[in-house]
Amino acid sequence: MKRIMGIETEYGISGGEASSVVNAYQGKKQSHTNISRTNESIVNGLTDIGGHIGGDYGSLQDQLELYQFGTPSVHTRVSTPVISSFSFTAADDMLDNGARFYVDMGHPEYSTPECSNPKDLVIADKAGELVVGRAAKAANPEIRIFKNNSDGQGHSYGTHENYLMNRVTSDEFKERVVPALLPFFVTRQIFTGSGKIGLENAFQHGGYSSSSSTRSSPYESQRDDTFLALENLGYHFLDIPEFRDVKKILLRLCGEREQRGEQQLFQLSQRADFFTELVGLQTTYDRPLINTRDEPHADQSKYMRLHVINGDANMCEVADFLKVGTTSLVLDLIEDNVAPQVELSDPIKVFRNISRDQSRCWELDLVEGRRIIAVDVQRKYLEAAKTHYQGRDEITDELLNRWEFTLDQLDRDPMQLVGSIDWVTKLALITQIMDKNSLNLNDQKIRNAALQYHDVDRDKGLFYFLQGKGLVSRLVDDEEIETAVSTAPIDTRAYLRSRIGEIVDVKSVDWEGFTIKSKGKNVLVKIREPFSGRKEQVGQIFEGDLTLDEIVKVLSETEGIEVSDQSIFTPSVYPASKNTKYHRSKKSK
């Protein structure tokens, strides 16, 4: 298996500011300067009217909200911002392990370096937990960092996967890629979900509900919203006497459930409540199952980036491995034109329903009219992958075996997957705490435990307590993870990009390259092939005592690397700064 892939995680934070965490990182780092075009869609005609702070682009309204008023954003469909340009400074660094660490919409965000396979990506993702956790401790020991995707109160933040694919046209993407991905994405949560107590945004699919903040619990907010919706609906049925009876029955049943302490649901996915569109460019509102933000950070004529925003952050290494590994296998199937044909009826509804299904049977409707279970949808992809890729390489075979084993267990008895799958592990954990204390899902202690599961602090996090007791299946070891805190993968361009600062004066750095100073001029080294710049190609420049000219010569003769003495960091577009400055006009995108 060989594909460029990475994970970017917005971490939850309490007790301090994201910028203080990023700024406190004590490992080696260099300011990141964005040189790639952003916010472009693989599908023609899609636009993003939202935006985010930090990252690669920004909505002017959001920036103003955060920097002038400091209030959480309430995302809705908004019109074009009135203000035409705005710039701000945000903490944004490239680390010596090839990762990027920065502030994004109030969250510390960590993007792994480019990895060549899912196992290396698990290592890099786990190293990210250490980086963010240690930076938080250095900033303020009171700060808590959570690797999750929801605060349980209507606000979600993402863990995005990135896969480099062969470029296809807009029409090919819509006709071939989207139909093949949708059934896979809406059903993979049965093994990628991290588990969540309660519903969020149950009745406000277009954005975030800010009204819930005044109520005592998310459940009460959802219950009240339900009955409000029922009241509104009632006006259309006043002439039907049975309608009043329906409301009475619901009120009684609701009361009974509350008395039994069963008012909350345990969902598979942290994110499913927040998706309302099939395909789209936006990531902060009206989230789409398939995001089309196409930033390959590589030769755009050859490559596109698949930006996956529907997944959860994983604590379990096995779940993380399955998430990125099976997705990469499905992309292989799509690129080889051998993906299975499955057409779901209403994928958005299926995505939510699978997550919320308390029977954990996960039955869904196909367009052709028959029903199928999510496990069997996954089996169709598994079987196709086995047919075409079994025996290809060691990692592929390990993936296929684990995928099959996991689906078999999910079909027979999901709770056998404690320590491998996050939603199962979390459910087993909180169920034991509920039993011991005679509590239910809605009790404060249980909700605390569900949150503490995601705490990256090895001393406070409940996931790490279980791991410390040997109850979590390991795929990689702590030494590999520790190494990845300060060392980039050797088989992608992250190797060259992360080490070049050891031997020359680097003026600026981005995913796709860096600028060094040579003979008074800025020399741009652009690595347009992400598998170029790997150790076997350029390792010699770090071993010999080469002059700057010799280093530049080696790089310019390396396949996939372009060297030019024309800096692309044109001041009028990318102002020079210690930190990244974003200067974006909405109309310029």
């Binding site: 309490s14 959480p72 995302h75 919409m105 995005h160 709770m415 404690v418 605390n448 109850l471």
Partner: protein, 56 residues
């Protein structure tokens, strides 16, 4: 082919999720550690206070 698959399809396996958690070696081991786990769970209103800015 679709008809054949439909004939094979027996619907989802019937499970009682409330009983699921008692199964499994690791679940039993979690149970044996419950006193320690219980002590680690914070007593304050951590989850209620945990409020994040919406992200991507």
């Amino acid at each position: 082919m679709a008809e054949q698959e439909q004939e094979k399809y027996q619907g989802p396996k019937q499970r009682d999720p409330s009983q699921d958690y008692v199964k499994g070696r690791k679940t039993k081991e979690i149970k044996s550690l419950i006193e320690q786990i219980d002590g680690l769970v914070e007593k304050d209103n951590l989850a209620d206070k945990y409020r994040q800015q919406g992200g991507q």
